[in-house]
């Protein structure tokens, strides 16, 4: 339930997994910062993080916050992308399958609608090499609610 302005403003950073790397001490930060969190230097440059990494922690949100009710089980992970970590939603997977150390890769998926009712796309991570199956494709096109009710009939 963010705003469309925010998604538009951040689109380049989101889709390129843009982090900042300090030219003085080498510390890499995601989210990107205006100066190095470790040494304070403003001598930083933007780098693109690798799109593959491994899960170092994960959780499944059972009590969703306002605006995320009814979306698929909200699985969140912290992913080590080699030198930097990212917190992101995990997709195309089930909670039972998750393990620390599991290899994942970036993909583009819908997230909850913005306050203005627009459905934005963001980067999520899926198990490495997993091709989106028919179920996932239908879910992406119709939204999870339709798929759930279709399954019941």
């Amino acid at each position: 339930m963010t705003t469309i302005q925010k998604i538009w403003r951040l689109r380049y950073k989101f889709f390129n997994l843009l982090a900042t790397k300090c030219s003085e001490c080498g510390f890499v930060s995601y989210p990107p910062k205006a100066a190095c969190p470790k040494c304070g230097s403003r001598n930083i440059k933007e780098i693109k993080l690798p799109k593959k990494g491994k899960i170092i922690s994960f959780t499944v949100i059972r009590v969703p916050i306002e605006g995320f009710k009814g979306s698929d089980p909200c699985i969140l992970g912290i992913i080590d992308l080699g030198g930097a970590r990212i917190l992101a939603q995990l997709t195309d997977t089930e909670p039972e399958e998750l393990k620390i150390g599991m290899k994942v890769e970036a993909t583009i998926r819908k997230t909850a609608p913005t306050l203005d009712g627009v459905v934005p796309y963001v980067i999520k991570f899926k198990p490495s090499g997993r091709r989106a199956g028919i179920f996932t494709s239908i879910r992406q096109i119709l939204g999870s609610k339709h798929v759930r009710s279709a399954n019941k009939h």
């Binding site: 339930m1 959780t59 009590v63 306002e66 909200c74 970590r85």
Partner: protein, 381 residues
């Protein structure tokens, strides 16, 4: 810099206080702190609060001061997420230490029961990184769950060991008349309670509470006049860390807890071994456990094991959270830091109405975010 003393405290019951408004709750704590300080009227009020936007009310200092018959005094609100109380205390402390004021009330207040839980949970998540984390629907329980799983895996800590924190907190709160939850629980109750964000279950988590707490701070000359048991603010420091979890230097440590504690100990010229009683910020069991490690009460990775083996109980040095902590006393967010300070002050005066701990030095640690804004306060009798 001038010495600053706590000379009066005022607490309301913590809980889902549906029938009491924000202004009435605040005024109850304010009047109690004034009465406890021998009727001294404050020249200024500093309000600690995070989410009064949930009840569509800002400008709290004016609202509360005016409602309480203090029209014309100085006042403003301080916000530092769940650490708002501690940060407001630092502001109030500075007003006296600078010599600008002689009598200041610091008041923490929160009304979380007004909205349905998903809305309140969303508001609390505003303390995280809105651009990079909230977009995924992260909740505060979720963020802490990520830390808890990482910690348990790294240090090989069992589910039972983690659960022992909540059991001790409920035991301590049983005799605290202000506590939100006074029921005793078992390790099994914790492990079988509903999942909130795995591995965090209901009893690994604090309740969402309403409550207000106030402390009257004065200069030395006023303190001498109004009380025989002035409590000195011996050390105080605040430190910030990243609001986002991903860019932390380490996932299982809290830099701001370590830095603010080190600075506060240095200011008070003591070490962690000198603390007799502490109230630490256990919004989740994992938060409390990492806190006691960062403050220096337990070695890294050993906090949960020590609790489960029976350390830090009433009578131990230090006794941790005799109030029952956030877990059982409750977590009226912006008021929590002031509850902790008031509870420590009462312990050192000898008049805390629950589990009593004798001692000379007490510590209060109040956290905002997942460890991103932390104030550590050391009080001396």
């Amino acid at each position: 810099m001038r010495n600053v003393y706590v000379v009066g405290v005022g607490l309301t019951k913590v809980g889902k206080l549906y029938d009491i408004s924000l202004r009435d709750l605040a005024t109850e704590a304010l009047f109690k702190s004034i009465d406890d300080a021998g009727g001294e009227m404050p020249e200024a009020i500093v309000v600690g609060n995070m989410l009064s936007s949930l009840v569509e009310q800002e400008n709290l200092a004016a609202l509360i001061a005016d409602h309480a018959g203090l029209r014309g005094i100085t006042g403003f609100k301080v916000e530092a997420a769940c650490g708002s109380g501690g940060a407001a205390f630092l502001a109030g402390y500075s007003l006296i230490a600078s010599g600008l004021f002689k009598k200041v009330v610091v008041l923490g207040i929160e009304k979380l029961s007004e909205r349905p839980t998903p809305q309140t949970a969303r508001g609390l998540a505003w303390a995280a990184d809105a651009d990079y984390e909230l977009v995924y629907g992260i909740s505060f329980s979720g963020l802490n769950a990520l830390v808890m799983r990482y910690y348990m895996s790294k240090y090989n800590v069992s589910r039972e060991e983690m659960a022992s924190w909540a059991v001790l907190m409920h035991e301590n709160a049983a005799t605290n008349p202000y506590a939100h939850m006074r029921n005793k629980i078992t390790v099994e109750d914790v492990i079988k309670s509903p999942l909130i964000a795995d591995p965090i279950r209901l009893y690994d988590s604090c309740p969402l509470s309403d409550g207000a707490a106030a402390v009257m701070l004065t200069s030395r000359d006023v303190a001498r006049k109004v009380t025989d048991t002035p409590i000195l603010v011996a050390g105080i420091a605040n430190s910030v860390d990243s609001p986002d979890l991903s860019s932390r230097f380490e996932l299982d440590s809290m830099l701001a807890a370590r830095l603010s504690a080190e600075k506060a100990f240095k200011m008070a010229n003591i070490s962690p071994n000198d603390i007799d009683v502490a109230e630490v910020h256990d919004a989740y069991s994992i938060t409390g456990i990492i806190s006691i490690e960062e403050i220096g009460f337990a070695p890294k990775g050993k906090g949960a094991k020590l609790i489960s083996e029976g350390s830090f109980r009433p009578g131990d040095k230090p006794t941790i959270n005799p109030s029952g902590g956030l877990k059982a006393r409750g977590h009226p967010v912006g008021a929590t830091g002031i509850y902790q300070i008031a509870e420590i002050a009462m312990q050192l005066r000898g008049d805390f109405p629950g589990v009593k701990v004798e001692g000379e030095y007490g510590l209060a640690q109040n956290i905002g975010g997942v460890g991103s804004n932390i104030t550590t306060i050391i009080l001396r009798s």
